[in-house]
């Protein structure tokens, strides 16, 4: 643990971004479930100021805004799983939450923290990519509040690295409400059923109409420095029927397009095998149930 010089707990977004701008060296604390273990292990050093953002109302809550659902950065994984809007329109996120850590961690860990921590194994990232989510960022470089938004895949630069500017706060993630006929699956592959970090994860989504799969999105977690698009598999699937040949071709494309590393959780070879086998399994499941 690092000794702190300064602790702030702003109570509005306005106040937070002003402080971020003025104090410069700030570590942001949401649920702390990534930050605290990382700090204890000496992998992260607290900057001069620790900012607790949990008292900022604008960062809480899930609402529908037009064709989008806005999920506040401080939404906990539990809140995400229990919210009626999410359950109705974005069941994929409920599925992801179900395999996320343990009840205690789900009660503390936030969606914003999961995104900003930018682990390639972060379990909301792949589903959010499949759903076409955008992140919403805010800062106050001068006198006016500046907001910008960007597609989630663009936000990630590498493990723990994002395009978040030094004085910027992630305020929310926006997810378009999927069209009729949209089906999606998320599969987290770990070596045990609970409290595990993904060895790999796969998300597949698209519109299935008259047996034809369109607007397909495939994403993979834990096979690259960031969560990545399964673009080759996506291309194989686009506009096709989910027959055995297509599924086999998509699974093979998925295996060939990822370049994972070997670490304590799995070897690169095994990760590629699992990408293949699980992609196949997910697609077979989609095909059989629709």
């Amino acid at each position: 643990m690092t000794a702190l010089d300064n602790y702030v707990a702003p109570t509005s977004l306005e106040q937070a971004v002003v402080q971020l701008q003025e104090l410069g060296e700030v570590t942001i604390l949401a649920g702390g479930t990534d930050l605290m273990p990382q700090s204890h292990a000496g992998r992260v050093k607290f900057k001069r100021t620790l900012m607790n953002i949990r008292r900022i109302p604008e960062l809480h809550g899930i609402v529908r805004e037009g064709d989008e659902i806005r999920i506040g950065a401080l939404t906990t994984i539990t809140e995400l799983m229990e919210h009626p809007l999410v359950r109705e329109h974005l069941p994929l996120l409920v599925e992801a939450g179900d395999h996320f850590a343990s009840a205690q961690i789900r009660n503390a860990g936030t969606v914003g923290g999961n995104i900003c921590n930018a682990s390639p194994a972060g379990d909301t990232l792949v589903p959010l990519m499949v759903l076409g989510a955008h992140v919403e960022l805010a800062s106050k470089p001068d006198d006016t509040l500046f907001r910008r938004s960007m597609p989630l895949p663009e936000f990630f630069v590498g493990p723990g690295k994002t395009r978040l500017a030094p004085a910027e706060l992630l305020t929310a993630v926006r997810v378009p409400i999927p069209p009729k006929g949209f089906v999606a699956r998320f599969h987290k592959f770990g070596t045990r059923p609970a409290l595990d970090i993904s060895a790999i994860s796969i998300g597949v989504g698209g519109v299935l109409k008259n047996g034809v799969f369109t607007d397909v999105r495939v994403a993979f977690g834990a096979v690259a420095p960031t969560p990545v698009c399964g673009c080759a598999a996506q291309e194989v699937l686009e506009g096709k029927r989910l027959d055995a040949a297509t599924i086999a071709a998509a699974a093979a494309a998925a295996r060939d397009e990822v370049h994972p590393i070997s670490d304590v959780r799995a070897s690169a070879w095994y990760r590629k095998e699992m990408i293949h086998n699980m992609t196949k399994r997910i697609l077979e499941d989609v095909s059989a149930n629709h």
């Binding site: 592959f189 070596t191 045990r192 059923p193 609970a194 304590v264 959780r265 095994y270 086998n277 699980m278």
Partner: protein, 791 residues
């Protein structure tokens, strides 16, 4: 006062552990919760190199840090002496480090944070030496020596060479310990065999993962007496050993054990942090507390012994076993602790679980720069059973015999004295085999799975069995395997049981109290157990080897019987009856036949106390089991009783991922007699889960001397959803020597799971894996290789 009381017994009932309310209520004060006035916090600087000479240590900046009271290195404690089973280990390293956990310096400071900061200010210069991380390399000619002679390389330690019996002089090779054992003539056995198999099994590193990490608080009083609050499992042995290490009079050392948050064998040896904390207490004149971080616990507490084991065995066509030849390579790590002695227990499984006329057994523990192994529940038996029980299945298959029938044919019977000299006075092995097989439907499932295994389908079911033999009546390893008890009664009919036996969460307090209740006819609530202070409790060898219920239980019964005799004699005299016709029930003296109450126990005790010949009821008893030391050829009857078990494991293998799910474990355990059914169930279920972790998920990944997963994120303990359904049956063989007929079973339940799981995976998939753990990737690789070979 009731008129009459009928006989009642607590034996076999489900009784909540006496310490359960405190623990469940979060009120138990573990060592972490204890803070003494004036206490300082100790921290240890460990090596950053795996194998290196220490060229220079600069502690000046650390010493200058405000709040730091002492910074010590080996140079500050020239009186330190080597510790451990082979006395090859200085608490603070002198001239070199031999593994990443090695202790270089230690700090005592006002807070943990200051101590931590001070460690960062210590500068160490090293000169790297070649690293040995594979035990095979340690044996190669010209391999670098881990403990070159003379130890320490400098004249500074010359005094050690003279110090009697503890001088450590280094080793001319990297061999730390060997065990050789022989019975019969294996060449003859091989000639008589129709089938001979030989395979090599690889057993990995796992560690205890006690919820309570290692810790100690040491303080000297003004007269120079040392008091240690310690988590040790062997307080009386430690008292003696600390005296030796510290060059102190043992009478000046007192050890108090606060409630211990798990032992499992990890606290049987003295580890460097303990004398180091004492050095710090000495240097500062203040109490010093040192408690490991979880990461430190992974890096610097002992492991289970990793083993490479080659087994050659044979049988005849009719299913009779003929011989076994075993050679092992134990990775000793950098220093010698109890892990090196696990061959002693492995040998018993190899020679005596089944009837085998001819056995030859060679083991070598060799030094490497890896972490070192200690003792761990099962003590080598998991490793031996893994190999032996897989070979049993493979031999059965080779001669076309059913695995159950093959085992029954070779299983031991009561009365047997094995060639190694173990005498099985009570033995429910065959009943364990048939009970577990019948309860699980083993034979039908085994055949059905066998037939299904070639059919298409992602999920494959398998069933496998394994059995075990383990000491259940103590283990005569030291000159004595005994335990003392002092029992006192007060004027109100309450009993204080003062026992040498340590409680490490296993429930011994409860069982001992129950045994006393049985003799004295008092309710459980009338018994208090005192068991954690060497100044008060009588001697006991320690909590290990599944011995406490058996040994301390017999000792407690002995003391209680004496008290009972005194009470009944006095009551008989007072009431003008015959003592033989009286009994003690529910706090009363009664006539045994009718149950008619004569008087309350409390009243009798008071009358005894406040009479002319005033007397308090106090007794003591010392129990030493009738076991024997083995001779120098490792022959002899080391335990007063032996425990048996068969476990049947059912798995589902996902051939797409290699994930093995344990669906069900059916166990049949020869426990002698059930004392506390609830405690026994807890012990067996917990042991099964520990065995499951060993089989499937747990692995301390050691690569080139570095532990790669020192935390619970990547060291995978079994989580609740993975725990299988369990059907545990108890076989009561009523051991003649056991307390109320019971035998020790603390280690038994963890021993078979890995072996049975290996057999179940084979039954499901046709693939046999001889290395642990069965992680999804390992299983998937094996399945993949088999598929490739078939194609």
């Amino acid at each position: 006062m009731p008129e009459a009381i009928q006989k009642d017994s607590l034996i076999g009932k489900r009784i909540t552990k006496l310490d359960a309310p405190e623990k469940a209520g979060g009120k138990t004060r573990y060592i972490h919760d204890i803070d003494l006035p004036g206490q300082l916090h100790g921290k240890i600087l460990r090596s950053t190199r795996i194998h290196a000479l220490i060229k220079r240590i600069d502690t000046a900046a650390a010493k200058a840090l405000p709040g730091v009271h002492a910074v010590i290195t080996a140079a500050d404690v020239p009186y330190q002496r080597p510790i451990g089973v082979a006395k090859d280990h200085f608490p603070l390293k002198t001239d070199r480090v031999r593994s990443l956990r090695d202790e270089i310096a230690a700090v005592a400071a006002e807070t943990e944070a200051i101590a931590e900061a001070a460690l960062k200010l210590i500068k160490v210069e090293y000169e790297d030496l070649p690293v040995l991380s594979d035990p095979n390399d340690s044996l190669k000619p010209g391999a670098p020596l881990i403990h070159p002679e003379p130890h320490g390389a400098t004249a500074k330690h010359d005094h050690l060479k003279q110090a009697q019996g503890i001088a450590y002089l280094g080793k001319p090779d990297n061999i730390a310990m060997v065990f050789d054992y022989q019975q019969g003539d294996v060449a003859q056995g091989e000639r008589e065999s129709d089938v001979v198999l030989e395979h090599t099994f690889h057993l990995h590193y796992v560690t205890h993962c006690c919820m309570g990490v290692s810790g100690i608080i040491a303080e000297f009083d003004s007269s120079g007496n040392l008091l240690m609050n310690s988590n040790t499992q062997v307080p009386f042995l430690h008292k003696r050993e600390f005296a030796e290490i510290l060059n102190m009079d043992p009478a000046r050392i007192r050890i108090i054990q606060p409630p211990i948050g798990g032992g499992f064998g990890s606290k049987l040896d003295i580890y460097p942090f303990e004398p180091i904390t004492v050095f710090l207490a000495k240097a500062t004149g203040r109490p010093v507390k040192l408690v490991f971080t979880r990461e430190e616990e992974f890096l610097a507490s002992p492991t289970r012994q990793p083993v490479i084991l080659t087994l050659r065995s044979g049988c005849r066509k009719d299913g009779t076993l003929t011989f076994r030849t075993v050679s092992t390579l134990h990775d000793n790590g950098a220093y010698t602790s109890w892990g090196a002695t696990t061959p002693f227990v492995m040998m018993q499984t190899i020679s005596s679980l089944y009837r085998v006329p001819h056995c030859l057994y060679h083991t070598k523990a060799v030094y490497t720069n890896n972490p070192y192994a200690g003792s761990f529940r099962g003590y080598g038996n998991l490793q031996a059973t893994f190999a032996v029980e897989q070979h049993m299945d493979m031999m059965a298959a080779a001669i076309g015999m059913d695995p159950l029938a093959f085992r029954l044919k070779n299983a031991q019977d009561p009365g047997e004295v094995t060639p190694q000299g173990m005498h099985f006075k009570s033995c429910g092995f065959k009943e364990c085999l048939t009970t577990a097989a019948e309860a699980s439907g083993f034979q039908a499932k085994f055949k059905a799975n066998e037939a299904d295994k070639a059919k298409p389908g992602r999920f494959k079911r398998g069933v496998g069995m394994a059995s075990m033999l383990h000491v259940g009546g103590g283990a005569k390893i030291y000159p004595s395997d005994g335990c003392g008890t002092i029992l006192k009664m007060d004027d109100f009919g309450s009993v204080t049981l003062i026992t040498g036996a340590s409680e490490i969460g296993q429930g011994s307090e409860t069982v001992l109290a129950q045994l006393v209740c049985e003799e004295l006819g008092v309710p459980l609530s009338a018994v208090r157990v005192i068991n954690n202070d060497t100044e008060i409790t009588p001697w006991d060898v320690g909590v290990h080897a599944s011995r406490t219920t058996f040994i301390a239980g017999n000792s407690a019964i002995g003391a209680a019987k004496k008290a009972r005799g005194k009470i009944l004699d006095a009551a008989a005299k007072m009431a003008g009856l015959d003592a033989a016709d009286l009994d003690l029930r529910a706090g009363h003296i009664v006539e045994a036949k009718s149950g008619t109450v004569v008087m309350t126990l409390a009243k009798l005790l008071r009358q005894l106390h406040f009479s002319d010949k005033a007397e308090l009821v106090m007794t003591s008893f010392y129990y030493e089991p009738p076991s024997k030391h083995q001779d120098k050829h490792f022959k002899g009857d080391v335990s007063a009783a032996y425990a048996w078990a068969t476990q049947v494991v059912e798995v589902e293998v996902d051939t797409d991922t290699g994930i093995v799910r344990l669906l069900k474990v059916t166990g049949a355990h020869d426990v002698g007699r059930i004392l506390n059914r609830l405690g026994l169930e807890g012990q067996i279920e917990g042991g099964i889960v520990m065995g499951q972790g060993y089989a499937l998920t747990e692995e301390l990944m050691v690569e080139n001397g570095v532990v790669r997963n020192p935390g619970f994120r990547d060291y995978k303990l079994v989580t609740a959803p993975e725990i299988p359904e369990m059907d545990v049956r108890f076989i009561e063989t009523m051991d003649g020597e056991g307390p109320q007929g019971a035998k020790g079973v603390g280690e038994a339940p963890a021993i078979c799971i890995a072996a049975a799981t290996a057999n179940a995976i084979h039954n499901a998939t046709g693939v046999r894996i001889m290395a642990l753990p069965f992680t999804p990737e390992k299983v998937y690789r094996a399945l993949h290789a088999a598929r490739k070979e078939a194609a």
